[in-house]
Symmetry: C2
């Protein structure tokens, strides 16, 4: 029937007000709005599947070895029984793997799958009405109610025969015969409700009415280092003791020290030739003296660009040696990729189209009025020759991957197009699936999250400026306990060459220890900028949130043996981190109330609570603080009144606690922080359980 005018009668008082003025009479509708298709008969409805980031627009993140728990909210009408399976496959393959899902309560179904291969992994969910399970449940209820079930048994026989027709199975044929037969009722019921029949029926499901969730979701699988890592940043040119310009060989000599500190990654600022034009002097002085080394981020000179090594640091061969030497020590070398060029970069002459030329013929340099960075040219990602530029930038990553680098810190990614990153990171990981990327994005929260969504493995955070208990609890909770945890992996850094926060200027050693412990236990990924950090360097450059004599602009020499060095605390922290799987992720983070705003308390645990770590930190470096903790015992895997032992892994002190209320005292000079291993008391052995 053709579309027709519907005259909608205005009805009653409810339509007074705005409704009166509506152009309802002009509404045209078709006579058959929706055609009835077979799909309408399907009765299972999959409402939501998790993890799903922005409705499936972006992948969730996991690492190999970490299980992917797939959840789905599924309903059917009435009281019929449902059955559901999770489908998953590497994105590069077509064939799905199926995993049976189990009802986890409140119409949520759950399955855990193993992720064994790096790369993009797709998953979705299929569900259908399980007619046999429905029948069997009804049968059992009727038996319990003492209702006659002879007819039910015949209905069951029909279901079983249909299953046998789908998938021949002697067990099914026999069961159907018994249910139809004249044998004793008790025997027929025993067969009908028996496990043998249930399993045989489960093997021959009727999936003709199965529905598949409307989307295929994706999870990006990276290597474990993406989720759990400790980074150590240092300037290779400051690795000599004698004040001369250090080399990659000198850096190699520093590796034993870094390995002893227990880090995983050695992060080097750009190691490329540095431009001479507009080179900056010490502490960003406009004019440089001839022997000022300049900023490593002013990349490119006559000697080469992003794929060259600064002659003063050494050669590519030296770099290869450094990479190999690091691997021998269980370390890996990480490079800082800054996509910008100095005026002396070879590309400026070779590819003028890659830079933005202004009406006066000059090339646009970086600026942030009134600041000008004449020593840095941004690339013009939207240039007429953009494809060649994008490929060249991608190949910078590929070049270093081919030399064994698999970890990159990306400088200011938020000032480059977001879609460039989505393309570039996918390109690199397609070739080197174990490559990981840390975004140095100190910018607005949604932009930081967007960069994570398009592929950055880790990101810098606001931790550097979060100092009060309320700030730390709110921020860490947002990162660890909300949807953010599905796509954004925070890396906590107490300082960087660009940022030396005020609370470390006057906080002394206790502040350095507290910030170190917070960074290393609140976040599974963390890093420090050394040696200035472990040496508690704290003289600020006047008027700037930086250290004085900033290494970005000059060579420094460091006395690693300064008595106040934190090297032993750091080594201990990193040993604790490695030994305690509870600290290898963030999702189990729970904060526990304390009655002091200066005392913060939180825990992490493994899913099975075999490993439970409880951290208490005094946020005030100047005063002793005492506090009562109100522990969430369930989060610690403890029952109400049992005794338990807390072992401070920093000081090796042991305490026996009982119940939720506990008292702590933190003296800045001795112990600004506790990292407790929580041990349950095992009555059987009359001792505290040792997990590790």
């Amino acid at each position: 029937m053709a579309p027709r005018e519907v005259v909608v009668r205005q009805i009653g008082g409810a339509l007074e007000g705005p409704a009166q003025s509506l152009p309802w009479k002009t509404m045209t509708v078709a006579d058959d709005a929706v055609h009835l298709s077979e799909a309408h008969r399907r009765r299972a409805v999959i409402l939501a599947v998790r993890p799903e980031v922005d409705g499936g627009h972006y992948p969730a993140k996991r690492v190999v070895g970490e299980p992917l728990v797939i959840e789905a909210d599924i309903v059917g009408d009435g009281h019929d029984a449902l059955r559901a399976v999770a489908l998953d496959r590497p994105a590069s393959r077509a064939a799905w793997r199926e995993t049976e899902m189990a009802l986890a309560g409140n119409d949520t179904w759950r399955a855990a799958i193993e992720l064994t291969a790096l790369g993009r992994h797709a998953f979705t969910v299929v569900a259908w009405i399980d007619a046999f399970a429905t029948w069997r449940r009804g049968l059992e209820r009727k038996l319990a109610a003492g209702v006659d079930v002879t007819v039910e048994l015949l209905e069951g026989a029909a279901l079983i025969e249909a299953a046998h027709a789908r998938r021949a199975d002697p067990a099914l044929r026999q069961a159907a015969q018994v249910l139809r037969g004249a044998g004793p009722l008790a025997e027929r019921i025993a067969i009908a409700t028996g496990a043998v029949l249930a399993e045989a029926m489960a093997r021959a499901p009727d999936r003709s009415g199965a529905v598949q969730y409307g989307r295929e979701l994706v999870v990006t699988v990276e290597r474990p280092l993406a989720a759990f890592s400790a980074w150590y940043e240092l300037f290779p040119r400051s690795t000599r003791g004698d004040g001369a310009h250090g080399t990659l060989r000198d850096t190699e000599a520093r590796l034993d020290y870094i390995a002893e500190l227990g880090f995983d990654v050695v992060y080097l600022p750009p190691i490329h030739p540095i431009g001479r034009a507009f080179r900056k002097g010490p502490d960003n002085a406009d004019a440089a003296e001839p022997d000022d080394p300049g900023s490593p981020w002013a990349i490119g000179g006559p000697e080469g660009g992003h794929t060259s090594v600064h002659p003063a640091l050494g050669t590519l061969a030296d770099f290869d040696r450094l990479v190999a030497a690091a691997h021998r020590r269980g370390l890996e070398i990480e490079l800082d990729i800054a996509l910008q060029a100095s005026p002396d970069h070879p590309w400026v002459a070779q590819h003028p189209a890659w830079f933005k030329r202004r009406p006066d013929g000059t090339i646009q340099y970086a600026e942030n009025p009134p600041k000008k960075y004449q020593d840095v040219y941004p690339f013009d990602f939207d240039s007429t020759d953009w494809r060649a530029l994008w490929h060249a930038l991608r190949d910078v990553f590929v070049f270093w991957c081919e030399r064994g680098v698999r970890a990159f810190r990306v400088d200011n990614p938020h000032t480059k197009p977001i879609r460039f990153w989505r393309w570039c990171l996918a390109e690199v990981q397609a070739r080197y699936p174990d490559a990981i990327f840390l975004a140095e994005a100190f910018t607005r929260p949604r932009l930081m999250y967007a960069l994570a969504k398009v592929g950055f493995s880790q990101s810098y955070t606001y931790f550097t400026w979060r100092t009060t208990r309320a700030e730390l609890e709110a921020y860490a909770t947002e990162l660890a306990c909300t949807e953010v945890a599905e796509f954004f992996r925070p890396s906590f850094w107490p300082t960087t060459p660009d940022i030396f926060p005020e609370h470390l200027v006057h906080g002394g050693r206790a502040a350095f220890v507290a910030r170190l412990v917070l960074a290393g236990t609140l976040a599974a990924n963390y890093g420090i900028y050394g040696p200035s950090y472990e040496l508690c360097e704290h003289e600020p450059r006047p008027g700037a949130e930086e250290l004085a004599r900033n290494e970005k602009y000059q060579v420094r020499t460091w006395d690693l043996d300064r008595p106040q060095s934190l090297r032993h605390v750091i080594a201990r922290l990193n040993r604790i981190r490695r030994a305690h799987p509870a600290l290898h992720g963030n999702r189990t983070l729970r904060f526990h109330p304390t009655d002091s705003e200066f005392v913060i308390c939180y825990s992490k645990h493994t899913p099975d609570h075999r490993d439970v770590v409880l951290v208490v930190v005094n946020l005030d470096p100047h005063h002793v603080h005492r506090a009562y903790l109100t522990l969430d015992l369930a989060a610690l895997g403890l029952s109400g009144d049992e005794g338990f032992q807390v072992h401070d892994l920093l000081s090796d002190a042991h305490y026996t606690w009982r119940g939720a209320r506990s008292f702590v005292e933190l003296v800045p000079d001795h112990s600004p922080a506790h990292i407790f291993e929580v041990r349950r008391f095992v009555r059987s052995e009359n001792q505290f359980e040792h997990f590790l």
Copy 2:
């Protein structure tokens, strides 16, 4: 280049543990993972658009006259300025309407659009980089920093000329000439930063790089009654005073009474012929006496089925009279559609395929072991003749729509296929866009929500059983202050013919008043089952959560003039609801802490705070309770220390309060509840502002 094997070198300690065992060496990757297309250059990224239900799988709900606030989280790289527009259109039209969006902070953009037509309405968002706004902002920063801008002016001229080429405009041509000209710098700057140029440029945007959000979202627009309504349920056969079987004419005579109570909707249980086979006697007795009327939900007899009127109630002509008489009083008649049949329903003989036949040849009746409902046959929605059945059921709604009914209460929708409802409700609303549907779904939460998502306008809730302050706060917050509010419109009912909760058995009149006030102010949609409710009928049927002498099975006579009747309280409540727009929605609901678990306090307000209502209820019908309230003054539109007046609209008592702490005392027998209008004190006029 063809796919090749990538040998991934195992790197460093970070790969110890699970990673070691991975089959990385077998990973195959293509050389060019992603082809670079023009789309990669687009620099705006639209991360999320709201309202979006289940990632766009289901429509949000609004009513005509209610603005639709569209929000989008949009980011670009760097500091470039963005511009965004919301697109919307009736789903039946192809052409989009555009509405400029404004930045609302934290990278969220917002636009409000008016919804003037009933039906499905589509919307999405488009965003792009605004090169001119970016340039102008940079110019202003440089001017502020005292930087020379002569070159910037030339860059601006180029942007303006490009705009002029897109859209000829004298203002643009002239501005470009001035910026390129040799006129005084001050003059050029004045033009460059002037509003005339900005507006002209805004009219000629460069949208070549615009991106559109990946989905088109839908909002279902219904009439105001869907969002704000008061329902009165009564059994027509009990509308006579003399104990005889009431008729639709008797019901007509009851309309003035219902109108005086201030309800919008008169809800009638099924009015169709009632089956005789297995008819139930009083209080669900298995055997009925010859003159027992039976349950109206056992639909169908020799006299007809779902489109007939029970002869004892009258004729279709009487029904038409009733509808018209209701409309004259600003009321509308609502029908209860129960999709099931008695064994005597004409369809049983006419369409045997619509019912499920068992192996013994009998028709499957409804049951819930050990309970059996031999008087009710469910339809077999999955039968071989399902299409004909579905169309017939749809046409039941259409039949009554054609007789002027536009509101339906659907009995047990959760026992019929969810996709049937999605299809059926859309079919009916395609013909009668002002038809609304109340789901009588007392079932699991996700199934109730699923029914709302597929089209039910309103739904019954668990309110009937939520009695403590904690229960009420948690449940009302879930319904009003979470994503649930986008698709699920709760209707709060203190009792129904099926449910007479225990707290009303012994609570007396105070409990009836308290539950009435809670239902009518916590939820914009509510209803009562009368006259038993206003008459405080409270004798339970032993062993059941029902009233004794349940009207479902027998005719009752009611003395509407009983002295304890709540008719005046109800009339007052409904007048208050109509007069106060704050109560016409749920989204602004806020609970305010009190220091008594028996005293609950909450407020609702209009977006502009012109109307603010504060409700306080004593949840204990047996004792006086006093409490200090800690008011969230911001939610009330008040500043910290100003005085304000609260006017109890139930008792007309006035109080002047100041600040967040206030004291209340609630005496069950006199005033178990306050419904305060909050009035700000206006110093200028030295009196309290009267909003209405």
